[in-house]
Symmetry: C2
Subunit: 221 residues, 2 copies
DNA sequence: CGTTGCGTTGATCTCTATCAAAAAAGGTGG
DNA sequence: CCACCTTTTTTGATAGAGATCAACGCAACG
């Protein structure tokens, strides 16, 4: 797929006419990321943000003693680092590919010029910001008011899908990473999963978590 | 001070000419809030956001069992609920006056129209969003990787000022509220303050915390 | 095969919430 | 200004959640 076609499918730009897409294409570029590769590190100069075309990246921070905390995992259609663009000069976290990933790189300065001409794009990115902000408010709330049982239950609940009669949550990330995403450590995650398994609320099968009793699971939310 | 003059001093509008300020004044209004009074509750329809003119408000959430968590305390010059405007329909938290407070109420729909005409205002609010987002990212990081000693040290450090030779942190909120802001309870805050006092790192005097040993304090960050 | 990293399990320890109660601080009405 | 009541703050004792440390099974991989 060409850059032009790719851009048309990014929600930020999907109202633009052909001529304007052409303009956007003139300053955007595709960036491929192998598994484990970084697009940026915390503290790097933030001169661009990204839209995920395919694959998945994790945004994470490191504590002074090296512990990792995952702020978000962004897949197809998500924006990455859009928050760093209108404020400071540097990225506030690390961004690394969880698998082979393709992104569109959107340079800061050109995008600002675009907004000044197309105010409706400003509204769209404001909308994206609002969603992101709401997500973080939720995170803060969770971390300060909920325990790990509850956070895990929420994760499973929100990431499960109906799959020929079964409600399944596919773990597309490692348990180590899930732990970091839930704000805990692998040992505790393992024990919490065991708790739910012992209570016959869930069951593990390869990459999947089968939900046996969604009522009981929701009771932990 | 008239609404017109007040608006001119809000950073969102400080580049507008007199005629446009007139326009903004036509849809904005002043709102006075007594101590303890709410502007909005979680779940209320979000049809406006606010700018604090004087006083102070707290934005907080309640857990199912009634525990309060303060997301932010906003004083003069800050925007309130700007995040709720471009996304969903409802406020995600409560907002209550900590003291007698005056705010400008900015209705959502009119503001969106304004942005479409003045794209530079879009940039300003995007800037405000970025700052807010960065703040929450920091909060999430703190809550998941730092203990309470560290969070308190950070608070004292960031809210202290030089005051004739002394480094002082004025507590403009109650300790109960400070506890809720740090994501803990008053008992634990009290004990943590005691720890720092016993270590001769700080000293309390009326509304103030005197920093006796900022090196040791920073060592806890 | 040895090595390396992930996941699980067990024992222990630390931090923080909870419960209880006293002390201190603030109002309020007389 | 004082007695009274309410709320905040502090202190103590206890319990529980989750981190840490250590060890082991297991799969992937050179």
């Amino acid at each position: 797929m060409s850059l032009h076609d790719t851009l048309q499918h990014i929600f930020l730009f999907d109202t633009l006419n052909d001529k304007d897409i052409q303009l956007v294409a003139s300053f955007c570029s595709l960036r491929h990321l192998s598994k484990g590769e970084h697009i940026f590190h915390e503290g790097d100069t933030a001169d661009a943000f990204f839209a995920v075309v395919s694959g998945k990246v994790k945004i994470y921070k490191l504590s002074p003693d090296g512990q990792e905390y995952i702020l978000a995992i962004q897949g197809k259609g998500h924006l990455v680092a859009e928050a760093a663009i209108f404020d400071q000069e540097t990225y506030p976290a690390y961004c690394q590919g969880l698998e082979d990933t393709t992104l569109v790189r959107i340079p800061k300065d050109d995008f600002i010029q675009l907004i000044l001409k197309h105010a409706d794009i400003a509204l769209k990115i404001l909308h994206a910001y609002s969603k992101r902000l709401r997500y973080f408010v939720m995170q803060v709330e969770e971390l300060s008011l909920r325990d790990i049982k509850s956070r895990l239950a929420k994760y499973i609940n929100e990431n499960s899908m109906e799959y020929n009669g079964q409600t399944v949550c596919r773990l597309s990330i490692s348990k180590k990473e899930l732990a970091a995403l839930l704000g805990t450590i692998p040992e505790t995650l393992s024990r919490t999963l065991k708790y739910y398994k012992d209570e016959n609320i869930i069951q593990e099968r390869e990459q999947d978590i089968l939900i046996l009793n969604s009522t009981k699971l929701r009771a932990h939310l």
